[in-house]
């Protein structure tokens, strides 16, 4: 079976699941970002004075594109941990898939397509809601949908590969607490990273969220030059590609022994 076709069928399984269970996830995936936008943008933001450092825009407008990115990364984290482990360990449904013409690599590609497409849609909905609430400075925020998805994939791909190697879910909590949480808070979404101590910056530059936020905010306000933009994109694409390559290896090792 051609790779794309096989991956498409693997994606269809997740879609079938989603069509049946979307109600359970809809609240958390759409309501949570809206609550953040309202509380931090409108509420907290009303007490924040705009500075030159954040480009002279209102805090709400400053926050919106970055919030799209960190929300997408959070969504990707959840899609890339328990559901992946479950299909190896509890439901074992990945094993059912590779008993058909579908290959382990196609199972992984299907999983990544699913993460990418759901986060693209969720980010688009988020941007729509933000625009409706008047939280956006202009049409430039539409780029956030693309870069949020890319940043989400860049974090998801290595994480899916990692999940494929686990036998118990204990380390997920560690990832949520010590990777996801600091990455959400300290990579430029809520305040400029220039406010962080100098020695911490190299660590920030490693995170996909910083690159995603730089891209999303830069395109939203038209402040990003082409060369740095290409650099950020290249880094996120490389993380995604590296994660997928590892994922192919680990999926094969786990499903074809």
């Amino acid at each position: 079976m051609p790779t794309l076709r096989g991956s498409w069928f693997a994606l269809e399984k997740s879609w079938t699941w989603y069509r049946r269970n979307w109600r359970a996830t809809a609240v958390s995936s759409f309501l949570t970002p809206v609550l953040f936008l309202v509380a931090l943008g409108f509420g907290f933001g009303s007490q924040v004075q705009s500075t030159a450092l954040i480009g002279g825009v209102s805090y709400l407008e400053y926050l919106a594109p970055a919030l799209v990115v960190v929300t997408a990364i959070q969504g990707a984290t959840f899609e890339s941990t328990y559901p992946v482990m479950s299909q190896f360990m509890w439901q074992k449904s990945y094993f059912a898939m590779v008993a058909t013409p579908i290959t382990p690599a196609q199972v992984l590609y299907g999983q990544m397509l699913w993460v990418g497409s759901t986060l693209f849609v969720k980010s688009a909905v988020f941007v729509g809601i933000a625009a409706a609430l008047g939280a956006t400075a202009g049409p430039g925020i539409l780029w956030s949908v693309v870069f949020a998805t890319l940043a989400a994939l860049a974090f998801s791909a290595p994480l899916v590969a990692y999940s494929a190697r686990l036998d118990k879910p204990d380390s997920f909590t560690t990832i949520f607490r010590f990777v996801l949480m600091p990455m959400t808070l300290f990579t430029g979404a809520f305040f400029p990273v220039s406010q962080l101590p100098q020695w911490l910056l190299p660590l920030v530059w490693l995170t996909p969220s910083w690159h995603g936020i730089e891209l999303a905010r830069g395109t939203a306000f038209g402040t990003l030059d082409l060369l740095p933009a290409l650099g950020h994109i290249a880094y996120l694409v490389a993380l995604t590609a590296g994660g997928v390559a590892l994922g192919v290896k680990f999926f094969h090792r786990r499903l074809a022994v």
Partner: protein, 318 residues
Amino acid sequence: MRRKLSDLFVNVGRVENLVEAKALTKHFGSFEAVRGIDVEVRRGEAFGFLGPNGAGKSSTMRMISCVSGRTGGDLKVLGMDPERDGPKIRARVGVVPQLDNLDTELTVRQNLQIYGRYFGMSRQRCREKADELLEFAQLSDRADHEVEPLSGGMKRRLTIARSLVNDPELLLLDEPTTGLDPQARHLLWDRLFRLKQDGVTLIITTHYMDEAEQLCDRLVVMDGGRIAAEGSPSELIRRYSTREVLELRFQPGVEKPDLERFAERVEVLPDRLLLYTQDGEHTLAKVHEHGVQPVQSLVRRSSLEDVFLRLTGRTLVD
């Protein structure tokens, strides 16, 4: 489900041995799960791997179903090499794994439909096939229920139905009835008989000798990664056992008498003696004459359990 006559003609000229293994081995690190087995499975037969847990049955099945590579030896499935043509072979094979791996959060019908998609079938075809298989598995009234709360027997039937979605020529069943109650087992056996009649070649692993006797035309007895014997159930019984068995049960702790001279062979089990003989009643009478008073006695036909005991010195299910 029933095959059309034209399908039979399509089969003419195809390979007649659906599986051919020569000196097949499988190692996991330093552990040798399969240690050089030769197997041929012919078109249309029901072939069994009988053996205790850890005999290498499942590893063999996973190699035949082309999800697990071999360590050594030759393997041809449907005339092709799994190493090279895995997806092509899997397209024509059905797999019922030892543990159900259904999508438990989907409905019964969705499980069948999405599985059809994995074989590249159109949505329309998947819908039709799902209806047909729901009926075959007697799950039509549960079609739109979620899988999770179904009984073990129903899940098993759904797994088997799912494995048939691509009209496989070869169906691999890894311990199809382990853990099911007797009624559910008989229902499953009935479905498997129907498949066999329809010309599907079955390969079954089991550690239940009654299942092997019921379902298999031919089987191999596996132990410790090797094949200990091969033949039809009745051949194996003839070759390795006597016609009848006299089972004598004694009080626990009481020393069992030496009865070697009354039977062709005697097996001493922790709780009973098995006397292998052509005429169990006659032997029982002689044992009684001799003054031996067992707590309980039973005369029965020899079974594959006895064959296994003879070949390995151990019982199948411990």
